[in-house]
Structures are given as structure tokens and as C-alpha cells.
């Protein structure tokens, strides 16, 4: 329920990181073949809107691959299913604002969920004329904190909300960047590999890797 929430990091590190989901409501959107057809058309149109506003990553849980994996946008779009969602990450406020403005104008009626710094997302909603409806607040990590990896590694691992990118892989990639066998950008794509739904922000990962490899 929370895979695009719980990203770790400071406000500075999170200020250009906006995972966005378009999510179907199963009780309305896939109840019969006609509804499924309409829903799929809407998801495809939303995918195109995201795509036109320069997202850093793009994907959908039911397509085996994301833009970060080198999947073409056409292949991703062709694989969309009516019972799924479209996931994207934007790395700047203007792109997110423009995408939301277009979604508002076209009024698809599918729920859109934006993660990011609360003040920034509310500010963008104001600019576009949207009233935030529901919020999912992150209240941190509880329990046996000694089990956690270092905070700087979690800034990267938590970008895969399903926790598929391990801290050991981040350490391994940092080492490869240090040794010069990977650039930070190549390293970021390696770290995006485990993420299956397209909300890993490989641009932010490359910036963090550059610092961590110093």
C-alpha cells in the first residue's frame, strides 16, 4: 500500500523526487469487459501524458520492465493492463506541474497519487487548482533499528518501495563506481534493475552515488 511512500533522505535530497501513480479502482474499473476496455484506454492516455512531460522513469507493475531497464516506451505502453497502474517519477517540479495540469484538463477520472515533500506537492496542487483529497503520512521506521543499514544507503534502497534493491547491492555499486568500472549513471541503472514498477529515480540515485563514491 505504501511502496511510493517511505522514501528516506533529507528535504534537500528529496526535493527533486516525485513518484506518481495512476491507480484504477477495481470495484468500478474492471467489473466487465466494457469497463476494462475503457480503463485500459484511459491508462494508455495517462501513460502518454506522463511520457510527454519528461519523466525520469516510467513503468507498470504488470509489464516486466521499466524505462530504467531499457524498455521502450512503446513496449511499456503495449503491456499495460486494465487492472494495474501506471508509475512514473518526475525529477523537477515544472514537469510534474505540467503533467498534473494536463491530467486535470483531460479529466480521465482515474485516481492520481503524488509522493514527495508535502509542502511542495501541496504548492503544485495550488498552482494547478487541485484540492488534495487524502494523504498518507510516513511516520518513520520502528522496531529494532540496529538491523538497518546505514542511512545513506537507505536513501537509495527506499526508492524501490518493495525493498527489492538491497543495501549490499548499493555498496557493491559504490565500489564499482570508485574503481571506475561503472559511471554513477550506469551504477544507478544497475540499482534500478530490481525495481519492477518504474518508481526508482535513477537520476537521484546517480547524484547520490556520485557523492557516496567520493
Amino acid at each position: 500500500m505504501t511502496h511510493s511512500l517511505h522514501r528516506a533522505g533529507t528535504c534537500e535530497s528529496l526535493k527533486n523526487d516525485f513518484p506518481v501513480l495512476a491507480m484504477v479502482a477495481r470495484q468500478f474499473d474492471i467489473v466487465n469487459p466494457d469497463a476494462k476496455k475503457r480503463t485500459l484506454e484511459k491508462l494508455q492516455a495517462i501513460f502518454d501524458v506522463f511520457d510527454q512531460h519528461a519523466p525520469t522513469n516510467l513503468g507498470s507493475l504488470y509489464v516486466p520492465g521499466t524505462r530504467a531497464h531499457g524498455m521502450t516506451d512503446a513496449a511499456l505502453r503495449a503491456g499495460l493492463k486494465p487492472n494495474g497502474f501506471v508509475g512514473a517519477v518526475f525529477s523537477d517540479r515544472a514537469s510534474l506541474r505540467d503533467a498534473l495540469r494536463e491530467l486535470k484538463e483531460r479529466d480521465f477520472g482515474i485516481s492520481i497519487i503524488v509522493s514527495g515533500l508535502i509542502d511542495q506537492v501541496f504548492g503544485i496542487c495550488d498552482q494547478v487548482g487541485l484540492q488534495p483529497h487524502t494523504i498518507d503520512l510516513a511516520l518513520g521506521v520502528w522496531g529494532n533499528q540496529k538491523l538497518l543499514p546505514k542511512a545513506e544507503l537507505m536513501e537509495i534502497t527506499t526508492m524501490c518501495g518493495h525493498a527489492l534493491t538491497s543495501a549490499s547491492l548499493v555498496e557493491d555499486v559504490i565500489d564499482r563506481v570508485r574503481r571506475g568500472s561503472l559511471t554513477p549513471e550506469q551504477g544507478a541503472l544497475e540499482l534500478a534493475k530490481p525495481c519492477v514498477c518504474g518508481i526508482f529515480n535513477q537520476r537521484r540515485a546517480a547524484e547520490l552515488l556520485t557523492d557516496l563514491a567520493k
Binding site: 511512500l5 543499514p149 530490481p194
Partner: protein, 239 residues
Amino acid sequence: MRITEDCIGCGVCVPYCTIGAITLEGGVAVSDQDKCVECAVCTRCVVCPVDAMIQLEVAELPYPRNLRRYFSDPIAISPVTLAGGRGTEEGKTNDRTGRFKFGEVGFGVEMGRPGISTSFADAQTVAQAVSKVGAVFEAKNPIFPLLSDPATGTFKPEILGERVLSLIIEFTVSIEKTPDVIAALRSVEDNIDTVFSLCAITRVNPDKTIPVVPWLERAGVAIRPNAKINVGLGRPLIP
């Protein structure tokens, strides 16, 4: 995931494992079957030079081990929700479904996250604690049919030893119960051998204040500056 005797010990797969279950021993890789949560990250991301990694699917794994597979790999389809992922639509479609109303808070206790994994025994410790303060568990969540007694947060005994990358205990309470939920969660923090990521879902007031915030602040809970926000583009819109 199991590693066959063909392994040549190249070590490429080791760092990809989500929870450190793969180690090199005596020149070959071994996957600890107790730790392994069957997430399939290793087989999806690594091209083993000798094809020594074998990942079975949900239907191929015996119960209850197959629970590991569909809770840990978001692509694996849950037989309960008939969807991938570990949770439900929760607040994501609340502008259309109205699941969370003003005056209510939905809590999501994601056991094992980030990246530590959890046993169902630890999940039961938390579920039982919150059930005592009135938590009613979400029936659409894939953990629900695994509860032998949903009223007390008790899981079926045969699954308590199974481990998954994470699972989400989802429940809704009236906003006044927020301090009780927080106290219940604090009471079990030291009794579990894992972590959990906590979230709270509420409607946003027309003036953009967030009704649960004062309750959380009074309970001494630190609220992260980043959140997940349903921006109200669903139609028809629940006002």
C-alpha cells in the same frame, strides 16, 4: 531460490540478494533456505554463467512456503487480491471509493520494511497488540485470510515461521484512537526481531490542514516531511 551443484562460485549473485541470504561457502554459493524470502530478485537481475539458480513459482512451491513468494515479489499474483503488490488500494483510490472518511485514520504497519524481512510470528506480535485497542483488519489485504482469528490478530499456527520481505497490517480506527494505536505499537517495538515502517492515512481538510497531525504530535510521533497524496482527480469524486 535454490542453487544447484553447477555453481562455480563466481559471486555475482551475492550482493543482489535482498536480505543477505546468499553467501559463498567453500568456493560455491549457498542460499540459506530459512532466510530466503523467494523474492526472485537474484534470478531476475543476475545472469548466472552456469544457470545454477532455480526459482520456483507460487504454484510450484508447497504451502506455506509459497506465502514467501507472493508476499515478497510484487509481480507474483496473490490468490487473495488477484493482484501483485502487498497491500490494497487504500488511500490511493479514496477519492472514488470513500474508504477513509473524515474522523477516521487508516494505519499501515509494514512489517519488515525497509529491506529487513519479517516472520509471521513477529507480525502476529504487532497485530495482536493493535487488535487490543480496537483495530479491525482490512479484509482485502492478503494477510487477512491467513488470520485464524481476525478479532485477536492471531495467524494460523503453521505459517508463523515463514518469512517474507514485507507484509502490511492494515486497519482503520476512529481518529480519537490514534494515541492508543501509537501506545500499542510502542509496547511491542522491543519484542520483535525486525522493523516496521508506519503510515497513517486521512482525508485532507478543505483548508489543507491534516486532521491526524495534532493527534500524532501529541503522541510524540515524528512525521516525515514527505508523504503520498491523492490529488483528487478521481471521478465521480467523493466530497
